[in-house]
């Protein structure tokens, strides 16, 4: 316990007390201040505090504050011993809200900000922060695409997307400095994460704030005895889902089915086919011959017996042929069922009057799901993500006016494993395309390929083992020195601040190659299929390891100086901020390799009257190097107002509505990050640039001379400037029913103009690489609702939090070339990234959809069915001939039952690219929601988070029957006339479907989902015997993430990254222990 002494005087008295929570448990670390003085202390481990020799105590008031609890002011009066009961604040959050370049009292905030605290973050046993934000914050969309250790971060979108050509990522600030990487911070280091949503909150970030801002605040030391917290947890991971694949017998049968169906496609238009009978005769005579792959009855029988070496009577099964007719379950050969991860964190915080500290050490070890026992370097080729985190945040109070803060953070990451740099491709071609009939895989420790099957696939184990490995080693150092000097002597409430930050990053890589040795299997001439002949097919090359090499590095210097003013007099609260900052980043990977600079000024003025009327002005005056002299700086202001109705005299005091605030804001924010073809463009104003590329060889044989090429690059745009978002926001905050329920609602509207984008209407005869111009416009709007209920049944405390967000956007203008009559293909007027594809009208379910049929249901080829137009009438094509349904295949492809039917949008009698329309939801969800709830009873606590999205579609590009890949269980739900007649579940067209027409809405799937994102059960013990060894509390807990998922199209995979090729998402079960000393 630390006590601060004032200069002692007579008439003093000792004042002591204890602070407890609503459950009468002592609260350590509560800040106790004597109001109107700088006297203060904090409670000890038992909640006790004491002020020795306090002068005139009877006239003094004590102020108790503690993060997450309502502030209490208590007059001492004539008591010398106080008992204070603190209530958890109904928002569950600190009363102070972190805002851009500062913090504000929550009550006086007029901007739209959502905050999540550390407690919620560490509930999710995920390796990185972005994944633990899902469902926690209104207005935040998270999308996780991969579960690969070290590459499993989510993409974040604040209030959807507002531009179609530039970066849509929010700006991330860690402790007041823009930082490129935040996902590698140990969640235990974090105090709060806020997202700034409206213009009022983001205007201070000027040309970098248009996509919203994520503010991450790390923990700082509090005065008091050292508090040590140790947590350790270990988790088991598994895939949320991996497709089930069909076995060899089904695979071969389905391929035969496909070949059989393909015959109609290839021969329906043959001159010698007049009737269905002609066709059947010809098909039955020829289809096996023309089959791309035909599997005979003998093959099928052997595939069926691939796991049956012995007959029931114990004799050798003559159809058992595991080498040449295998049935290999690759998924179980390639993947483990489970992998493990562990996480340890030790942190200490405490301090004295003049020095406070928070120091944290963290370790994470995350393992991947690949089996590696058959590889040359089993340890190196297994995916791992090891992370070491160190943070030290120190505050030195040189005197009561002068504070120096030093923040140091360091993250060291080692990410290793298979060299899957081109992951999507590898995944698709080598892992998902591993069909069960190709090879038995490994026989006698040898990679084998049967001789007869070399054309139909690869040996995935050999392919994977041959990829080698690499280890990526990343070191990120962040540092900041901040000086704060109070100038109350000059003006009450004035302070001056300065900060210098230096960040650096270095990345190296090492690796190894493991050329595989593989063997060809040929049948033994003695006829014994169980005794095949191995012939070595590749040279034996010893595995190699490579020394590490440099991959990337950068360093960034940031400087900031500011004047702050905060003062209250009478009923007036006034605040002001003037801040100047500069940033320079040196990164050799930038094109061109020149340092990147930012420079800006920030201003803020806040005014509050009597806690009822609030007004705020924020502005950013920024410069960006991307723009030419004269257009380099921009002034981006935002204005906001607030009205706390419940503080008005006329507002009746009641228990129903205890608090009500209306607020609104309008302002401008910019975005200077222009991305063309995935590359950020710089210096767009430069005159016509040239690049060195291409070249040509002149000369004759033996005298050839290569001359490198140079060609024109981008033409300059001398008028380029940033895109500007005008954002408005209106909302209210209220507390109801004795503050048990709090609610926040916001409606927002954004108009993004001057979007830097390419002109699409320039004729191709120009052929200059024209620069982006400020010409696009997008509107983005939506609303958010947060509800928070906290109450108790006797000793059982419970809480429910919910958030629901909605966003929509529309391209108002985009320069695009749309041919006459094809207006339905334009992106203008539609959501960003809405797909342009054929619209399906379902499957043709019988021959009767295409031709008149005879009594047996067979088509009468001379009597095709007329196609009907939008009004239900037959219609004619451009040549004046009637349009038949059978001719509506994509680009004239032959149709049959089970094919996908397409809408002839332009009614010209053919299905081609002109029939593509803008359709479907985009891959950014329109609705996101989170519902968390929990309760505590004595030492037990349980909490859970349900999270979900809707209004989102994803296109499936990897489908069964595309080529030679394995067939998933989706393939079993394909259309056949028989399955259709039996009313079986059909999720897929016929096996021989026209894959070149697959870009259509049949494969655009609703990716809405609801999932049990996290669930946690904990038990806290505080027995007195542990206190003797210095332990104040111990909590053991179990939690998990991605525990249950509900979605409509689960058969296609995890809805969050539906249709994505790559490492699947992960479900985690975790147990942990947290000890506080």
């Amino acid at each position: 316990m630390i006590i601060m002494f004032a200069i002692g005087k007579v008439m003093a008295q000792n004042i002591s007390g204890v602070v407890v929570d609503s459950k009468a448990l002592p609260l350590p670390g509560v800040t106790v201040l004597v109001k109107g003085t700088s006297l203060g202390c904090s409670t000890d481990i038992n909640g006790n505090f004491v002020f020795k020799n306090l002068t005139n105590p009877a006239q003094k008031t004590l102020v108790f504050s503690y993060l997450g609890y309502d502030k209490i002011e208590k007059a001492i009066a004539d008591q010398s011993s106080l008992r204070i009961v603190m209530q958890e604040s109904s928002t569950g959050l600190s009363e102070v809200v972190v805002v851009g370049y500062g913090s504000q009292k929550k009550e006086s905030v007029t901007a739209a900000i959502s905050t999540v605290s550390a407690k919620d973050l560490i509930q999710a046993p995920t390796a990185n922060i972005s994944n633990s934000l899902a469902g926690r914050l209104s207005g935040l969309i998270t999308v996780q695409n991969s579960g690969k250790p070290g590459a499993d971060a989510s993409d974040l979108y604040i209030r959807g997307v507002g531009t179609y050509s530039s970066s849509v990522s929010p700006l991330v600030m860690v402790d007041g400095v823009a930082r490129d990487s935040y996902n590698n911070i140990d969640p235990n280091e974090i105090e709060t994460i806020s997202i700034l949503k409206d213009a009022s909150a983001t205007a201070v970030f000027g040309v970098r704030g248009a996509n919203g801002v994520v503010l991450i605040t790390t923990k700082r030391g509090k005065a008091g005895a050292p508090k040590i917290s140790l947590s350790a947890q270990t988790a088991m991971n598994e895939f949320t889902g991996l497709p089930n694949f069909v076995n060899s017998f089904d695979y071969a049968s389905l391929q035969n089915e496909k070949s059989f169906e393909t015959y109609w496609i290839n021969h329906a238009k043959d001159a010698d086919i007049a009737t269905w009978a002609d066709f059947v005769t010809k098909r039955d005579a020829n289809w096996k011959k023309e089959a791309a792959h035909y599997y005979s009855d003998d093959d099928l029988l052997k595939y069926k017996n691939a796991h049956t070496p012995l007959l029931a009577n114990g004799q050798t099964n003559p159809n058992y042929d595991p080498y040449f007719h295998p049935d290999t379950d690759w998924q179980s050969r390639i993947f483990k069922k489970h992998s493990y991860q562990s996480q340890v964190n030790l942190n200490i915080n405490g301090g004295t009057e003049s020095m406070k500290y928070f120091v944290s050490l963290g370790y994470l070890n995350q393992n991947g799901m690949f089996k590696t026992d058959y590889m040359a370097f089993p340890d190196d080729m297994a995916y791992t993500n090891k992370r070491y985190n160190i943070r030290g945040n120190f505050d030195f109070d040189i005197n009561k006016d002068f504070r120096v803060s030093v923040d140091l953070g360091y993250q060291h990451e080692v990410q290793g494993g298979l060299n899957l740099d081109n992951e999507g491709w590898m995944w698709e071609k080598r892992i998902m395309w591993s069909n069960p009939i190709t090879t038995p895989g490994i026989v006698d420790g040898k990679f084998v390929m049967p001789y007869t099957n070399t054309k139909i696939g690869e040996n995935p184990l050999e392919e994977i083992a041959g990829m080698g490995y690499n280890n990526t080693i990343k070191s990120t150092m962040t540092s900041s020195l901040k000086l704060k000097y109070k100038l109350d002597r000059i003006l009450d409430g004035l302070s001056v601040n300065a900060r210098i930050a230096y960040d650096s990053y270095f990345q190296t890589r090492d690796g190894g190659a493991t050329p595989t040795l593989w063997y060809k299997l040929t049948p033994n001439s003695n006829g014994d299929v169980m005794d095949p002949i191995f012939s070595q097919m590749s040279e034996e090359i010893p595995p190699q390891r490579w020394a590490s090499w440099y991959v990337g590095k950068w360093r960034k210097v940031y400087g900031e100086g500011s004047l702050n003013y905060n003062h209250s007099f009478g009923k007036h609260d006034i605040g002001a901020l003037a801040l100047y900052n500069v940033e320079k980043k040196y990164d050799p990977s930038l094109t061109p390799d020149l340092p990147h600079a930012y420079l800006g000024m920030v201003g803020r003025a806040t005014y509050g009257y009597d806690g009822r009327y609030l007004a705020e002005f924020n502005m950013g005056y920024n410069g960006s190097e991307n723009f030419p002299k004269g257009l380099r700086y921009g002034f981006l202001p935002a204005y906001s107002l607030g009205w706390v109705v419940s503080n008005e005299a006329f507002f009746p005091k009641n228990d129903i509505v205890t608090y009500l605030k209306f607020r609104g804001s309008v302002g401008k924010v910019g975005n200077d990050n222009v991305i063309v073809n995935w590359v950020s463009k710089r210096y767009l104003y430069l005159p016509n640039t040239w690049n060195y590329s291409g070249g040509y060889t002149f000369g004759t044989l033996g005298d050839r001379n290569w001359v490198g090429g140079a060609e024109e690059g981008t033409v300059g745009n001398p008028n380029v400037t940033w895109e500007t978002a005008t954002k408005s926001n209106i909302g209210f905050e209220t507390k109801l029913f004795n503050s048990k329920l709090s609610a926040t609602f916001d409606y927002f509207n954004e108009n993004r103009v001057d979007i830097l984008s390419n002109k699409q209407t320039i004729p191709d005869i120009v052929q200059a690489t024209l620069p982006p111009y400020n010409l696009g416009q997008v509107k983005n709007w939506g609303w958010e609702l947060e509800l928070n209920w906290r109450s108790n049944f006797g000793k059982l405390d419970y809480w429910i939090k919910g958030n629901l967000s909605h966003n929509k956007n529309k391209i108002v203008f985009m320069d695009e070339a749309i041919a006459d009559g094809l207006g339905y293909q334009s992106a203008t007027g539609r959501p960003i990234n809405q797909l342009l594809m054929l619209k399906d009208k379902g499957l043709y379910t019988s021959w009767a959809d295409l031709y008149q049929v005879d009594a047996a249901g067979n088509p009468i080829l001379s009597s095709p069915v007329l196609a009907l137009d939008k009004t239900g009438q037959p219609y004619k094509n451009a040549a004046g001939n009637p349009v038949y349904e059978k001719d509506l295949g994509y680009n004239g492809a032959v149709l049959q039952p089970g094919e996908i039917g397409f809408e002839d949008v332009n009614q010209d009698g053919v299905i081609d690219k002109k029939d593509n329309i803008r359709i479907g939801k985009t891959n950014i969800p329109e609705f996101t929601f989170g519902l968390s709830f929990g309760f505590g009873y004595k030492g037990f606590d349980i909490s859970a988070l349900l999270q979900g999205v809707s209004g989102v579609d994803r296109y499936i590009s990897t489908r069964p029957f595309n080529n030679l890949e394995a067939i998933t269980e989706v393939g079993l739900t394909r259309f056949t006339l028989e399955r259709s007649a039996n009313g079986e579940d059909i999720q897929f067209p016929i096996a021989a479907y026209n894959s070149s027409a697959a870009y259509n809405t049949y494969f655009l799937k609703d990716a809405s989902y609801v999932r049990l994102k996290n669930m946690e059960v904990g038990y806290t013990v505080k027995p007195s015997f542990m206190k003797k060894v210095g332990i104040s509390s111990t909590r053991i807990y179990m939690n998990g993430s991605n525990l249950l998922t509900f979605s409509r199209n689960k058969i296609w995979g995890d809805p969050e990254n539906l249709g994505n090729n790559g490492y699947p998402l992960i479900r985690t079960y975790n147990v942990g222990l947290n000890v506080n000393f």
């Binding site: 054309k455 590329s693 200059a768 070339a817």
Partner: protein
């Protein structure tokens, strides 16, 4: 006191820091540091830099349209010279020219067969125009060098306009680099031809007659004359210069109103044939001074697998930089930028090069039969036979057949031995070149541009843009159309035939000579990217490209303990050629930009 001093010092220090950083509040902090970006001035300042722009001009303009990457088939896959397989697995092979849509009559505005695409031509034109406009700024080069570069730039511009002309008809003519505000509609055939011809003349005035061997691949005066001759030959042909009696052939490819000026000349003019003949004659007359001559060592037959034993015809594309080449694409093989150009080209061009993988470029039976027998007579392929190699050798065909076409059982070279295209039978597994995938097992493909000498070393062959033989045939064709057969036309065709080892043509009337010269051109220039335009301009495309194409399948059979290859013919496909194919469509995107036509017409070609 002490405290106050500390306060003051600290305040001063902090304010000073603020000021110090504030003084940086100027444009200088955000100004681009020197270096990093290259602009037009940098490139056209020194000759050494400018020559890089020139090299890239060749890269963008002088393309041979030979398969060049993973998605580019041989351009002949849309003619009757090739049948590319179009199973579901092979559609990508013809992606660049959309073969699968073209041959089935389903080419669309978005899937036309322009190799490289409409914009690639204007990309080359822009590059050539930029070189032309900026080359005078080079500080350290001689006027001669600059004039030479100007000649090359004008030639490159003309060559790419010719490429557009041969696909689309009249197109916008662009003789300077454009910015975005443009109004350049399609121009008439007359204007396009006159302009290209003028550019060829301009280029010829700047270009040297010959170049040192280190500059082989750069254009000479003769190349400009060659381009001019080819354009004038096309312009004189019925597609553009349509005699009244042939106008009916082009129904469906004409508007029937003033818009037709972008498709053809308004009236037939026989003198255009004279102009074409004169231009070809100019090439022949100027060849000697340029060091160009027909490659003729008096060896029509290939008798072994060394250079010395190659037939003259095969030598023309096997002997690098031989005397017959007027202009070649010298980039194609062995560029340091990579194996893609190399391996993929060979992969796309033949199955025989890599055996187990590679695109099968089947030759239809209909095309095989265009080769005459050695005695100059025609032949017909039977439906089936007992042993394909024996049969084919017994036919004793035009020696150029055996120097172009690979067939099952053919002895190729030491490295490959006998080619095995047969399907499995009698205990023999599928031949190495058959492939396991059903329809791939056809027995004939072309090996033109696949080397067999020097251990199949790919460095040795040249991909011609222009070679001299073409202009003998062009001259003969134009003169026959102008004034009927004459000694001059017979001399021109027979010099080519005798080099190939074929008997002379004689005693034909104009129609008979027309048939002879067209067939001669087809055989001599096979697989050199001429057939597509020849079929169009002769108006024979609707006949040749509307027929059923067939292939030959062989199956291994053991006869007296030895492998034989009995064969049958089988349908490849029924080709479809709608009349609107005469002029390729512009894409919807280009049409929607509304610059190709005029206020009453969107500029699209008829039927699209």
């Amino acid at each position: 006191m002490n405290k106050i001093r500390t306060t003051i010092i600290s305040t001063v220090a902090i304010v000073a820091m603020l000021c110090l950083s504030t003084t940086g509040c100027s444009d200088d902090f955000l100004e681009k540091p020197k270096g990093g970006a290259v602009t037009t001035d940098t490139i056209f300042h020194t000759q050494n830099e400018a020559r890089k722009a020139v090299a890239q001009m060749y890269n963008t303009c002088v393309t041979s349209y030979f398969a060049k990457d993973w998605s580019g088939s041989r351009p002949e896959s849309i003619t009757d010279e090739l049948y590319l397989l179009h199973g579901s697995n092979d559609t990508w092979a013809g992606q660049v020219i959309n073969t699968q849509y073209y041959v089935t009559g389903n080419m669309s505005t978005e899937t036309n067969c322009d190799y490289g695409g409409y914009s690639s031509h204007y990309n080359g034109i822009r590059h050539a125009n930029l070189v032309f406009e900026n080359i005078d700024n080079v500080a350290d080069a001689t006027v001669e060098w600059k004039n030479d570069v100007k000649g090359q730039a004008i030639f490159c511009r003309a060559l790419q306009h010719y490429e557009l002309f041969r696909y689309y008809g009249g197109i916008p003519l662009i003789d300077h680099s454009l910015h975005e505000d443009v109004n350049y509609p399609r121009r008439s055939i007359k204007a396009v031809v006159e302009t290209i011809v003028k550019w060829c003349d301009d280029a010829a005035a700047f270009l040297p007659e010959t170049r040192p061997s280190a500059d082989f691949g750069k254009v000479t005066k003769l190349a400009a004359l060659a381009l001019k001759a080819r354009v004038l030959l096309y312009a004189a042909s019925p597609q553009y210069n349509t005699p009244d009696n042939l106008k009916g052939e082009l129904t469906g490819a004409r508007f029937g109103d003033a818009r037709d000026s972008v498709l053809c000349y308004p009236t037939y003019d026989k003198e255009r044939w004279k102009a074409a003949a004169d231009a070809s004659k100019a090439v022949l007359d100027n060849a000697a001074i340029a060091g160009v001559s027909l490659f003729n060592t008096g060896k029509p037959l290939t008798t072994g697998e060394t250079y010395a034993t190659l037939g003259d015809y095969e030598s023309v594309w096997n002997v690098y930089g031989n005397s017959e080449i007027i202009l070649a694409n010298t980039k194609s093989i062995e560029a340091p930028s990579g194996w893609e150009t190399d391996s993929w080209s060979l992969y796309m061009s033949s199955r025989l090069f890599y055996s187990s993988w590679g695109i099968k470029n089947n030759v239809p039976n209909e095309f095989l039969q265009l080769y005459e027998k050695r005695d100059g007579t025609k032949w017909t392929l039977p439906e089936s036979g007992n042993d394909l190699p024996v049969y084919i050798q017994s036919l004793n065909l035009d020696p150029r057949f055996y120097q172009t076409i690979a067939y099952d059982g053919m002895y190729y070279c030491g490295q490959k031995g006998y080619l095995d295209y047969y399907r499995a039978g009698d205990g023999y597994p599928d031949g190495k070149l058959c492939g396991a995938e059903g329809t791939i097992g056809f027995a004939i493909e072309t090996f033109k541009f696949i080397p067999r000498v020097d251990d199949m070393n790919t460095k040795h062959f040249t991909w011609p843009v222009f070679r001299l033989a073409e202009f003998y045939l062009s001259y003969a064709e134009a003169m026959n159309e102008y004034s009927g057969p004459s000694q001059a036309t017979y001399d021109a065709i027979n010099i080519i035939r005798s080099r190939a080892g074929m008997p002379n043509k004689a005693g034909l009337d104009q129609v008979g000579f027309r048939a002879a010269i067209q067939n001669e051109r087809t055989i001599e220039l096979a697989y050199e990217n001429n057939r597509y335009n020849d079929l169009l301009r002769w108006l024979t495309a609707p006949k040749v490209l509307n027929q059923s194409l067939h292939g030959i399948i062989t199956t291994a059979k053991k006869v007296n303990g030895a492998l034989t290859r009995p064969w049958v013919t089988e349908l490849f496909m029924n080709r479809i050629f709608p009349k609107r194919y005469y002029y390729l469509p512009f894409s919807n995107a280009e049409i929607s930009k509304k610059y190709l036509g005029n206020k009453d017409w969107n500029g699209q070609n008829p039927g699209w």
